[in-house]
């Protein structure tokens, strides 16, 4: 349904531009937002005891329906890859359902399905989320067992998901900024919802909010400077402006720098990673899984789009800087990961290192770099989702047992959990036969082909360092004697089992037979 957008001057200059909307192309996003609004209504009008089942059904159904809509569109007779919301008179949609966006939407929907399953599971210890009821006077404010169960998390997650989908598809910095806020605000709230260890959860929410607000300000400032430079906030206009003009370059560089800082923050790339370990540790684990898998996809989708569409022409000027950023991120993630004693913090540092690897692919600025990075996002998302799923299962009397020493000898008591987690760690380390290896292969081959061999060597050395801390956990689980009063492994509920199985199967499948996903990732590039 290619909408002819070669609009006439008349329309462009009229007072009100009515955008042309390719409804089928954006149907997945529409489904998600409509459902998010419905979800709010459910929260408002349904009696408390019926909310949970309705919310779970609604949110899971939403993701499935959105996925079906995406599948229908991709397989329809329409000209796929050019639709979106197009302002009349503009060649490029404001908000574009081009091939990278479609691939990443699919990735996001699949990952959020898994994350929602984790969020919905309450078979283990009543679930991870606090009821909004305040503690009784004189009660323990730090840890309390509130009656009822929390359901606000579902509309929040759906809004965040919708924001992410728009964020990575926006061809216009202002749209991108609005989407950034739509995805961020629910996430800040979700971080504070942990039922146990309330203080650390709330602390993480406040930290994330404050730092996130700062980074949004950076993004907005950068946007303003770029508007001053190019006279437009559209990515294609900025690209046109950078191609040989005598405009003040200071504005361009300052604007680019501030904008990218905002994006790097969201993707938790070092040295803008400082929030990641605290937030990953403090947030309820299912929310951490959602953030680690989905936010990364959205943020890298936006980074790829901005770099490719707006700044490709000036790439030789900023590439050195992003080289350095990638190296810093990989080394911070790998080296500081070594010193961690908390499982969730360790995975957080691992995600910082992975963000560095992803950035290596993202700055390759070639078709292979784009498809490789997107494949890596898909692979990494599922692995990390399943890893957090496992973390929710290992518990002691005070909730999740996330200290490394508590995992000693886990293989003796629950061999299946241990072997699954070991497999996921090997995937994070990038051992062949797992998706992690294929992702690295795709990203690094694109980077070497684009002349970044030294960066790839650094990346591989960082992988070797990072492998040590993954290995340490395997050693702990398999070769150490279990502690006397060690944690028990809960029998996972059906939802958690499904989420972990999903993650493990995809990790194995993409490691052994990645051809189909690589095909999807390399169908086409951004439309400009």
């Amino acid at each position: 349904m290619f909408q002819a957008t070669l609009g006439s001057q008349d329309v462009a200059q009229s007072a009100v531009n009515i955008p042309e909307i390719d409804w089928q192309a954006i149907s997945p996003v529409v489904v998600v937002f409509v459902a998010a609004c419905l979800s709010v209504l459910v929260e408002a009008f349904l009696p408390r005891e019926r909310r949970w089942s309705v919310q779970v059904t609604l949110s899971l159904l939403t993701v499935v329906v959105a996925g079906l809509a995406l599948g229908l569109y991709v397989n329809s007779d329409a000209v796929v890859g050019t639709g979106g919301i197009t302002v009349a008179g503009q060649a490029v949609p404001l908000f574009s359902a081009d091939y990278p966006a479609l691939f990443l939407w699919g990735t996001l929907l699949a990952l959020s399905f898994g994350a929602l399953l984790l969020i919905a599971d309450r078979s283990v210890d009543g679930g991870a989320f606090a009821s909004p009821v305040p503690p009784a006077p004189g009660g323990d404010p730090v840890q309390y067992q509130a009656p009822g169960r929390q359901t606000e998390v579902f509309p929040l997650a759906l809004f965040a998901l919708g924001g992410m989908m728009v964020f990575l598809a926006a061809n216009d910095l202002l749209t991108m900024f609005v989407a950034l806020e739509v995805l961020s605000l629910p996430l800040y709230l979700m971080c504070g919802l942990a039922r146990r260890r309330r203080l650390i959860s709330q602390e993480s929410a406040v930290k994330y909010f404050l730092l996130g607000a700062f980074s949004s300000a950076f993004f907005l400032y950068g946007l303003a400077l770029l508007y001053g430079y190019a006279g437009s906030v559209r990515l294609v206009d900025i690209a046109a402006a950078t191609a040989g003009t005598d405009r003040p370059e200071t504005l361009l560089y300052a604007g680019f720098g501030l904008l990218v800082v905002g994006l790097l923050f969201k993707a938790s790339i070092g040295p803008f990673h400082a929030w990641t370990p605290d937030v990953y540790q403090g947030a309820p684990t299912p929310v951490t899984a959602f953030m680690a898998a989905c936010t990364k996809v959205a943020a890298f989708g936006a980074i790829l789009r901005v770099l490719t569409l707006a700044f490709e022409a000036s790439s030789w000027e900023w590439r050195g800087v992003l080289w350095a950023v990638a190296i810093v991120s990989m080394l911070i993630g790998a080296v500081l990961g070594l010193t961690q004693t908390d499982m969730k913090r360790m995975i957080a540092y691992s995600s910082i290192a992975h963000a560095g690897f992803l950035l290596v692919g993202a700055i390759a600025m070639t078709e292979d770099g784009l498809s490789g990075t997107m494949f890596y996002l898909l692979a990494y998302g599922f692995t990390t989702l399943a890893a957090f799923g496992i973390i929710t299962l290992v518990r002691d009397g005070n909730g999740e047992a996330t200290h490394l020493s508590q995992w000693a000898g886990l293989a003796k008591r629950s061999p299946l959990v241990a072997v699954t987690f070991a497999f996921l760690l090997l995937a994070l380390a990038g051992i062949p036969m797992t998706s992690g290896f294929m992702g690295k292969l795709a990203v690094f081959s694109a980077a070497i082909a684009d002349g970044m061999a030294p960066l790839v060597v650094v990346a591989l050395l960082a992988s070797a360092i990072a492998a040590f801390f993954y290995l340490r956990v395997i050693v702990l689980m398999y070769f150490s004697e279990p502690a006397q009063d060690g944690p028990t492994v809960s029998v996972p509920g059906a939802f958690t089992t499904a989420a972990i199985t999903l993650g493990v199967v995809v990790t194995l499948l993409l490691g052994v037979l990645p051809a189909f996903a690589l095909d999807w990732a390399s169908v086409g590039g951004f439309v400009s």
Binding site: P432, S445, A453, L460, S463, A464, F468, L471, Y478, F479
Partner: protein
């Protein structure tokens, strides 16, 4: 076409075996028996493959290929040349022996035989795959994948410091592997620049990458070389081997030094030399220095060891120096000798490892100083120790002599200085082997382990040596029938290949000549040839 089916069967039979054995957790005896059955069936397939291989035929035979990841031009492609075939044959021979040799091993608490033998068979499948792969990425994938079963074999079934050894082994190998990955991607990109679309096919890569300019070749060569030098291992990257060798269970140790480490030297021959001929010639002196240093250093450290398993590991470091010398001397004699050395070292050192394991099984200690005069109690075991030791020091008439001699005589015309220094290693070899034999087997009964079995040095009873021997005789049995059956085929191979190595050399030589042609080196004219 039957040949290619044969090779695929070689690959997948042990994999099937590993799966089957993994499910036999309830009964250890059944698990062992089934594992042995699979390994003997595999040996039969190896013999069939050997018969199907035509030394005068194509460079790569028994090959088959299927598309795997079309986006990167990756194929599941396997095939063997003479060098790969003899290595696969060595695996086929050693695995049943290892299973037999580990039969009565006491496993650590809560570990089942099913887990152990399943991992052994899994490793066999992966190692066959490493040698058979003709796609560079497939080779890399299997090269890394081998680490995982080995890591668990050492870490779960090994000695007291097994965790440390397993992690050290894994990290060293993984680091090497990741450096190699950069080069693997590098050759893919180079081939892509030349051909339009990249490939991982080995024969195509040999044709394209070998024409790249020398500096590119050197970088790519180094990536592969470091990984292989860690695996082989060459000094100074060898430090993981003594730990891994000492902490691994005996059977696993045999596979580790006998086969797994050969992936390194095999990699030199299969990947470094043909793909990067210019770089190989440029850097050969550097490699030779490391090789010769390994010969001397490994031998000296072997002399100084008190731990018998570390001792065997250090002798291997010395032997790998010889192999590297043969490979990088660039003459057909030396290279054929090096390949033969890879086989012979697997047999001789494997046997030495097994014999040492049998000594340890009796005395319960790994320290040489805990033993003495065992020959009085176990003459047959002592005899086997002599055979293994002499094969290890390359006495004429044993298999290792032929290969060591070929390496030295082949290397002398091109590298006289290095060859002369390496020859000193032969003298040191005699020293370390005979000295260990003397301390463990000869002289009066002594040492804590031996006396401990008699009830301690201060125990009551006849203090004379005859009395001691009489009391110990029942406690230190000589070789059992099982142990004899395990060692007998190795003794036969040591003697047979020592007298008549021609069948193996016939298979090796055409492939070595092909490698030298790819390298662009011709043999120097030799006098008296």
């Amino acid at each position: 076409m039957s040949g290619s089916v044969l090779l695929l069967a070689l690959l997948f039979l042990p994999l099937l075996g590993a799966l089957v054995v993994a499910f036999l957790r309830s009964d250890d005896r059944v698990a062992k028996g089934v594992a042995l059955g699979f390994s003997i069936a595999e040996l039969a397939l190896v013999i069939a493959a050997w018969a199907a291989y035509d030394p005068a035929g194509d460079r790569i035979q028994l090959s088959s290929s299927a598309e795997w990841i079309p986006q990167f031009g990756v194929h599941f492609a396997v095939g063997v040349d003479g060098i790969a075939l003899v290595m696969i044959a060595l695996i086929g021979i050693l695995v049943p022996i290892v299973i037999g040799g580990s039969w009565n091993d006491r496993l650590p608490e809560e570990r089942t035989a099913a887990g152990f033998y399943s991992l052994i068979l899994l490793m066999q499948a992966l190692m066959v795959g490493v040698f058979a792969a003709t796609d560079v990425l497939l080779f890399y994938v299997l090269f890394e994948a081998v680490l995982v079963p080995m890591y668990f074999l050492i870490g779960r079934f090994g000695g007291a410091r097994r965790q440390y050894a397993a992690v050290k082994f894994f990290l060293y190998s993984l680091l090497g592997g990741l450096i190699m990955l950069a080069s693997v991607i590098g050759v893919y990109v180079v081939s892509g620049n030349q051909l339009g679309s990249g490939t991982f096919d080995w024969e195509t890569l040999v044709a394209t990458v070998s024409t790249a300019d020398t500096s590119t070749q050197i970088w790519l060569f180094l990536g592969f070389f470091i990984a292989f030098a860690i695996k082989a291992p060459l000094v100074p990257l060898h430090t993981w081997l003594p730990d891994a060798g000492a902490e691994a269970p005996i059977g696993v140790g045999v596979l580790l030094v006998g086969v797994l480490d050969k992936i390194g030297t095999y990699g030199f021959l299969r990947y470094c030399l043909p793909m990067f001929p210019d770089a190989s010639r440029e850097l050969a002196p550097l490699v030779l220095v490391l090789a010769v240093a390994g010969v001397i250093y490994g031998a000296l450290l072997a002399v100084g060891q008190d731990d018998m398993k570390r001792f065997v590991s250090y002798t291997s470091v010395a032997h790998f120096g010889f192999i590297a010398l043969g490979v990088f001397a660039f003459t057909s004699q030396a290279q054929a000798g090096a390949v033969l050395y890879m086989v012979n070292h697997g047999i001789a050192t494997g046997m030495l490892f097994l014999v040492v394991g049998m000594v340890i099984a009796r005395g319960g200690s790994r320290n040489i100083s805990d033993y003495g005069g065992l020959a009085k109690l176990t003459p047959v075991l002592a005899g086997m120790f002599v055979v293994a030791g002499l094969a290890s020091l390359a006495l004429p008439g044993t298999n290792s002599f032929v290969s060591e001699f070929l390496v030295l005589i082949g290397a002398f015309p091109t590298q006289p200085v290095f060859t002369v220094i390496a020859a000193v290693g032969m003298i040191l070899a005699a020293l370390y082997v005979l000295w260990v034999y003397q301390r463990v087997m000869q002289g009066p009964l002594r040492g804590n382990a031996v006396l401990g079995l008699a009830g301690g040095p201060g125990a009551a009873g006849d203090p004379s040596s005859e009395g001691l021997a009489a009391r110990l005789a029942s406690k230190v049995p000589d070789l059992s029938r099982r142990e004899l059956a395990v060692l007998a085929p190795l003794v036969a191979l040591v003697l047979f290949l020592g007298v008549y190595p021609q069948p193996v050399l016939d298979v090796i030589t055409p492939s070595v000549d092909a490698t030298l042609t790819e390298l662009g080196v011709t043999d120097p004219v030799q006098e008296g040839n």
